[in-house]
Symmetry: C2
Amino acid sequence: MSAGVADAASGLEPELERIAAEVDALFSELLVVPADPREQLYAAMRYAAIGGGKRLRPLLVVAAASLFHVDRQRALRVGVAVEAIHVYSLIHDDLPSMDDDELRHGKPTVHRAFDESTAILAGDSLHALAFELLADGLTHEDPFVRCELIAELACAAGPAGMAGGQMMDLGASRAGLDLAAVTRLQQLKTGALIGFCLEAGAIMGRVPPEGRTSLRGYARDVGLAFQIADDLLDVEGEEAKTGKKVGKDHEKGKETFVSLLGPERARQQAALLVDQAIDHLKPYGEEADLLRAIARFAIERDY
Amino acid sequence: MSAGVADAASGLEPELERIAAEVDALFSELLVVPADPREQLYAAMRYAAIGGGKRLRPLLVVAAASLFHVDRQRALRVGVAVEAIHVYSLIHDDLPSMDDDELRHGKPTVHRAFDESTAILAGDSLHALAFELLADGLTHEDPFVRCELIAELACAAGPAGMAGGQMMDLGASRAGLDLAAVTRLQQLKTGALIGFCLEAGAIMGRVPPEGRTSLRGYARDVGLAFQIADDLLDVEGEEAKTGKKVGKDHEKGKETFVSLLGPERARQQAALLVDQAIDHLKPYGEEADLLRAIARFAIERDY
């Protein structure tokens, strides 16, 4: 399918453009390049953080927060904090000793455009920036809410979440994984952060944990559907559109949803997950239309 | 001077032993190795975090917090958060593309004992752990206090602090730096985190910013004295005691306090800074004796 078809199907194009501009603007404001020898560090942070990516995570935060009438500017700050974590993880995952990637968002990866040490430090710096953002009173007036956001994001990013999933992904055993193991790996590597995005909306809206079940279900299903779509794009996508090298998983002998299920069943499974995700949103009525559109976009995109 | 002389001079030995045991115990409790493919990640985190280092930063937090009668267990959690940041920075700084070090605390660096990707992820995971610890209600009952600790630590660790200092240190220009530039570099690279340790004690004790001037002065002076002592140990120390390779700065053509001042004037400068640091503690009377001992230890140690 073409980008045009995907956009028509999801109706998400204006929302994607809006959030991309907002995320770029906030990163740009936060990352002012100093006139001292740290110039290159800030330049690398800006190179990685500004002007690339689908900004799906910030959009999820903003969409979830809107269900509870949270101020968009505040939700955006949380969205940019998640995006800072996401971008740092891409910089580190692309390093030669990790996935050794040359291309990201259609341009050279940070360690190629700068150098390895700058890339490591730019990732580390974006990691710290995420928590600095969340701790600030501008993000939410209630420090209890800020602390809960920080605790959840730290957990989702750390060894019990994203970093743990990346460790599993690098493990020598990835070649022999079954469907349950690949699912578990992806739930940590990409699912934990996507789960945080929805949880963050509820936290900002002061929804107690027992009222977050539907959103958690949505996040779990969308996260997996998104990953299956990514695996399909690695097999069937075009480098010009995805902005990264394709065929990487196969080349590395990694089991993925597509290698285990075949492309046809993988596509069916992703569609089923999106239907399930949308089912979870019933309690929210029309107000959840943006989350519904994001769920459809997760599998209809060609980048 | 021998370790025995240093200990006698500072009287700090029992405090150092106590804090080391407490830090090890808390890290051990926090880092339970899971029975899944993340095992190696947790093993690497434990390898780096447990059983090594002087634990000077946690001791500074505990000593500063004690001035305001903060519960030691809570201060210890903050101390372990700073130490998690410190340890992550050592792991990343030791990487081949950074300082390329083989030895740390008398044993192989993490990327040597495990591999590079595990080292990067272990550092990232300890980074996230620090903020997870601080956000937890066990650290302080007041979420305002927790948010202030998080904001300050994130700032001290990020591009405006430690990561920015490391970027300066890696910069090609280090060879031509003058004393002001080396001082500025070290104030970011090591000073920011040491500054946080003292600030954290005051934050936990609910001392408003205008009441923290003396502690900030102490932190600035001790931080620089500590760094000068490190530079001296790199020239005059014994690898068996420092647990890391010596002569590294000279080998890399880096300007240090010792290369710029010569060892004798560097030693005098460090002693002067320690006197100044101790002067800052006057308002606190005898209760600050532990901070005084730490200041002396900063330059009397041989490791």
